[in-house]
């Protein structure tokens, strides 16, 4: 019996050569469905099924995560949009309120409307400096010492003017002063500001009806005569004068639109 012992390295070369010949034969043979290809397909099916299931699960997971991210992004976007709309709404509401106030102001003083400038209050400090900042200045015809009027009554006077803004000294300012009178009282007094504005300079024991209107006389050359400062409270006599505390009519904390009147032209002496 002949035993053939092949060296592995030679064997593999021979096998490869055989494979090459076999391949060439396959190339030259028309392809068809063979038992081998059928077996390969059958064997491949479970692996493909498992892989497809895993891939599908992964796709689902990815799609779900993407959807979650998209939803969260949309939510953030909507929140931003909602905040922007809220801000716009607030601005529009403020604008409407200002327009209404301006309209009411012009309606309240129709005779002054032609010679006055409607201004918006852009800043206010009614506790410390007792001033308002308006959005109109010299470019709009605002001059120093122009009287400033709110719908309820006089607010104060312009004490500083820039080109496009101005500052109003309120009647509650400690340095504010104006000539004032109470209808029915013959004499004129001086309305002075401060924490508790009051009229002084009236003769002693002057009788003032409570809630009587305190009006401007125009003697100081700033406020037009007949404009409302406020209402008188209970009068008292202090020394040589009657002192009348005044409740100012216009509340500077509520005012958003004011009317800046043209300064009173002083008559030549």
């Amino acid at each position: 019996m002949i035993r053939v012992r092949l060296r592995p390295d030679i064997t593999i070369i021979l096998v490869c050569a055989g494979l090459y010949v076999g391949s060439a034969a396959q190339v030259r043979t028309p392809a068809g469905t063979t038992a081998l290809s059928l077996a390969a397909t059958t064997l491949a099916t479970p692996a493909l099924t498992v892989a497809n299931a895993a891939g599908e699960a992964w796709e689902d997971f990815r799609a779900g995560r993407r959807n979650l991210e998209a939803t969260l992004a949309e939510l953030g976007h909507l929140r931003e949009e909602s905040a922007a709309l809220r801000r716009t709404n607030q601005l529009l509401a403020a604008e409407v309120a200002e327009l209404r106030q301006g309209s009411a102001l012009l309606a309240a003083y129709p005779s002054l409307a032609d010679h006055a400038v409607l201004a918006r209050v852009v800043a206010r400090d009614v506790l410390r400096t007792h001033t308002l900042r308006l959005d109109r200045g010299s470019a709009d015809g605002v001059r120093p010492d122009s009287a400033v009027l709110a719908e309820a009554g006089l607010l104060g006077r312009v004490d500083r003017v820039l080109e496009h803004s101005s500052r109003v000294q309120l009647l509650s300012h400690p340095a504010a002063a104006a000539a004032a009178t109470v209808p029915g009282v013959g004499s004129e007094g001086l309305l002075v500001g401060g924490d508790s504005p009051h009229i002084t300079g009236l003769p002693p024991y002057t009788k003032i009806a409570p809630d009587a209107h305190v009006l401007s006389t125009g003697s100081e050359g700033i406020y037009p005569p007949g404009m409302l400062f406020g209402t008188a409270l209970e009068a008292r006599t202090e020394g040589l004068f009657t002192v009348v505390p005044v409740q100012l009519a216009a509340n500077p904390t509520d005012v958003t639109v004011v009317l800046v009147l043209a300064p009173i032209t002083k008559a030549a002496p």
Partner: protein
């Protein structure tokens, strides 16, 4: 036995990567070549060539191609990998990365040449070959990283550190 199981598992993975719900680029990967690379640690170049031959033939059968060129290419790739790994004494991650890249490149080159010399039209050209090399290389990188992580996890140093931490 282990090698046969590894070949079967790799073949199943290779088939699974061609599934329609799996990212299409992964279909170019040939995990079975990694088994050939892995066998280079245990066998001599001829033994690795035999492993490569088996892997190549299995790939041909599963791919429903002409049976033969894949086997020849696998045998050549296995021999080349085994020789290079021995010549340069590669170990660790380099062994897997270089081995997988070399196996894929060699296999693709030999397969292309074989098919062309047979007068048949190859089912893929350079783009497919490049994708195969890249994806098999990536798989090699993954195996290298996994092996490193496993080694680090099982290392005596880590065990000692854990014991010292408990003291």
């Amino acid at each position: 036995m282990k090698l046969a199981l590894a070949l079967l598992a790799a073949l199943a993975v290779q088939l699974g990567l061609t599934a329609s719900h799996v990212w299409w680029v992964l279909a170019a990967c040939q995990p079975i070549l990694l088994v050939v690379v892995g066998s280079a640690r245990r066998f001599d170049p001829v033994g690795v060539a035999w492993t490569g031959l088996a892997a190549g033939i299995a790939t041909d059968v599963i791919g429903e191609r002409i049976i033969g060129p894949g086997g020849i290419a696998g045998a050549a790739a296995g021999a080349a990998v085994a020789l290079v790994v021995r010549r340069f004494e590669m170990e660790g991650p380099l062994y897997w990365i270089v081995g997988s890249l070399l196996a894929a490149a060699c296999s693709e080159a030999v397969w292309l040449m074989t098919v062309v010399t047979l007068g048949a039209k190859p089912d893929h050209a350079f783009v497919g070959a490049f994708a195969t090399v890249a994806m098999t290389g990536a798989a090699g990188l993954l195996v290298a990283a996994s092996e490193r992580a496993i080694n680090a996890w099982k290392s005596p140093e880590r065990r000692r550190r854990r014991v010292l931490r408990r003291l």
